[in-house]
Symmetry: C2
Subunit: 200 residues, 2 copies
């Protein structure tokens, strides 16, 4: 089974739509999805030298309107509970820690975090809130909190971000098929066609 | 017949793909397209305070690969002749001048400029090259050159850009349907569905 690379950051609502979309596509076609963490705070601010969306006039307003519209178009539940940017670092570190132990558990955690935030409007920015949430998924809260502060986990996340940047990833969601990158949840039909046809 | 607003800047290859796509869509559905100039140099650099694509690592490389791929996906001819950014100001001013006199002629000019640049790899950055090109469309070269330097034309373009920004436009192509904005040539299927259904 070919694997689709899925680059994400929990802070992005488009990342959530991408997660829902790529998992649905993978299920339809019997493919595997490899969830690959990346941090927009690194790629957008540091590597590209741009500003965050919240500090970008016009585009900020467009995205606020576009995300729920795209969600409805995709048939994906979306709650606009959170207007400000979410702090994703604790959840991203938790993901990396889980993935090293059990990739399937990490993927379930990833989908659950995305849904909690963007379909239910919950805020998992704080480690304590995340630990309480993790408990509902069977993750030991004290282990989760320890992982968030673990230098080895921090290093593993940093290495993952470096690998993503090295592969040319700058935004989320980005889908990788046979080394070909597709940026944006709205590119899912193109991803599916690429898989179907082998490219053009 | 409902009118589709089409915001463009000749410097953008995605703008070219958007022009081809929206004109095809409009022809299929018997709709009119109102071509509306906007300058990325104003919206991206000044209003949003971002950098140009050529100065943006990673994204620059992605776009260089994505544009021809999207063109093939859309079935639109594309020649990668020009790697650097084109200077669009002379052509944009010519467009504004023509539109005030004859909107249909301006639209024909717009399509021809986009195709010359992005399907044939020609460079119309310089007024002289543009005037020679305009002659092939029946536009008097000396009138065209005079229009490019005309303060009234400059003001008209500035007003058009201000109106675009006031409407929330920041990138190209942007399509406006019933006041709803859609950014990106890859959003054309969504634009068509919106027209078909009246929105969701």
């Amino acid at each position: 089974m070919p694997t689709i690379g899925f680059y994400f950051d929990f802070m992005s609502p488009y990342g959530y739509l991408g997660a829902e979309g790529i998992e649905a596509l993978a299920a339809r076609r019997g493919l595997d999805v490899d969830w690959r963490p990346v941090l927009l705070g690194i790629t957008v601010l540091k590597v590209m030298g741009l500003k965050g969306l919240a500090d970008t006039p016009l585009k900020r307003d467009y995205v606020a309107r576009d995300v729920p519209r795209l969600a409805r178009w995709m048939g994906v539940p979306f709650a606009r509970g959170r207007e400000g940017p979410m702090v994703s670092l604790p959840a991203m570190r938790t993901f990396v820690w889980l993935k090293d132990r059990d990739p399937d558990a990490a993927r379930r955690f990833g989908r659950a975090v995305f849904r909690a935030q963007w379909a239910e409007g919950r805020d998992l920015s704080e480690p304590e809130a995340l630990a309480a949430f993790g408990r509902t998924l069977g993750i030991d809260p004290s282990e989760l909190l320890a992982a968030i502060g673990d230098p080895t986990v921090k290093e593993r996340l940093k290495a993952a971000v470096d690998a993503a940047v090295g592969a040319g990833v700058f935004g989320v969601p980005t889908f990788a098929v046979d080394g070909e990158l597709f940026w944006g949840a709205d590119r899912l039909p193109m991803v599916e066609r690429w898989i179907e046809t082998g490219g053009w």
